[in-house]
Symmetry: C2
């Protein structure tokens, strides 16, 4: 599958490398053509790099691996290239302007996932992989027990496409939890408020939660 990754930071490069290793055709999209991160990634992996617009055009499935505070603005600009495509939104609307822990730029009765879906009504937005750090997201078996992943979105078939990619990454199908429509992004984004408190306590970003019932 042709996969476009918007954002050449750590999240985007890690995802791009993982999907390339799995045999997908991957393009890593950077904001500017002289982006050093993207250029280094290209040298290391012999992968494709492109502009945001080229990457959005290239991908059959496109990942939003942009920072939460710039994602919406960039995606609106890519609207026509993303029509009828699956857009996997990994971003969290975190505001670090007052330091750590961050606050949210949108929360409670709205979410970044919903904002993106409203601005791109002809794109199938699936919120996923935003509740854990990317090295764990692409290697769930690196944790000592199977953990849970949360996805949501308005299109059942788009979620099926994303689940298939997540299973390729190593996720246990029964632990990929479909929380329903895109409004559940309010829940998975809000979870970051406890994640940012757990990370310093645990002394690592490499953790996740496992749901336990009776």
């Amino acid at each position: 599958m042709r996969i476009g990754i918007l954002g050449s930071g750590g999240v985007g490069r890690t995802l791009a490398s993982s999907f390339a290793l799995l045999g997908h055709e991957v393009m890593l999209g950077a904001r500017t053509p002289d982006n050093v991160n993207a250029a280094e990634w290209q040298v290391e992996t012999s992968g494709l790099i492109g502009s945001f617009a080229e990457t959005a055009e290239f991908g059959e499935v496109v990942f939003n691996a942009l920072k939460g505070d710039v994602a919406l603005g960039a995606l609106v600009y890519l609207k026509s290239a993303l029509v009828d495509k699956v857009l996997v939104d990994l971003a969290n609307p975190l505001d670090f302007s007052n330091g750590f822990p961050p606050s949210f730029t949108v929360s409670n009765t709205d979410s970044l996932g919903e904002q993106i879906q409203r601005e791109l009504p002809d794109t199938y937005v699936v919120k996923a992989l935003n509740t854990l750090n990317t090295p764990v997201a692409v290697a769930p078996g690196s944790l000592v027990e199977a953990t849970d992943l949360f996805i949501c979105g308005n299109s059942a078939s788009a979620k099926e496409t994303v689940v298939a990619l997540l299973v390729e990454l190593g996720w246990t199908p029964e632990r990929i939890r479909d929380l329903g429509d895109i409004t559940s992004a309010r829940g998975t984004e809000a979870y970051l408020a406890i994640w940012v408190r757990l990370m310093p306590l645990l002394g690592t970003a490499k953790f996740n939660v496992r749901l336990v019932t009776e």
Copy 2:
């Protein structure tokens, strides 16, 4: 220990019965003297019931088991009775006025736990037991694996007092996670945004999360 439980709903009665069974002196506090829930509980358990004011006076440790939307107003009225005491805040600031799932009456850069601490500066507020339903809170061994509990508050000694009570309830000490000062209530309250999406998916309120690392 003398334990006061403010609120005679399901949360309060379940907690009160559990602490009574553990040998503590417990008073269950109801808003009105003719409260049916409290009267039934008294008949079933031969326990003490009282007004909110009597319960706040009675307890060496007092639990706020009131609904989030009325808790702050009631506690402000009990301020003098709660001076120099540990107040365990279980409430979540959920707004069900638009149905389920609820939204929050306070979130993001503030929390109910912080509001209570600000209004009662001479009380030691410890946020705890707000991230799971009460039957699980008082019987953590009812789940098939050990899970994690989150507490926070400004007073280390108040948190020690609460941890000791939680261990009596059956919690694994290593899995009682001290997230720091009361501002971490922003995280544990926000977690409810995903909890309310998980509950219908799992088909039960009897679940919790287990943290997993490398």
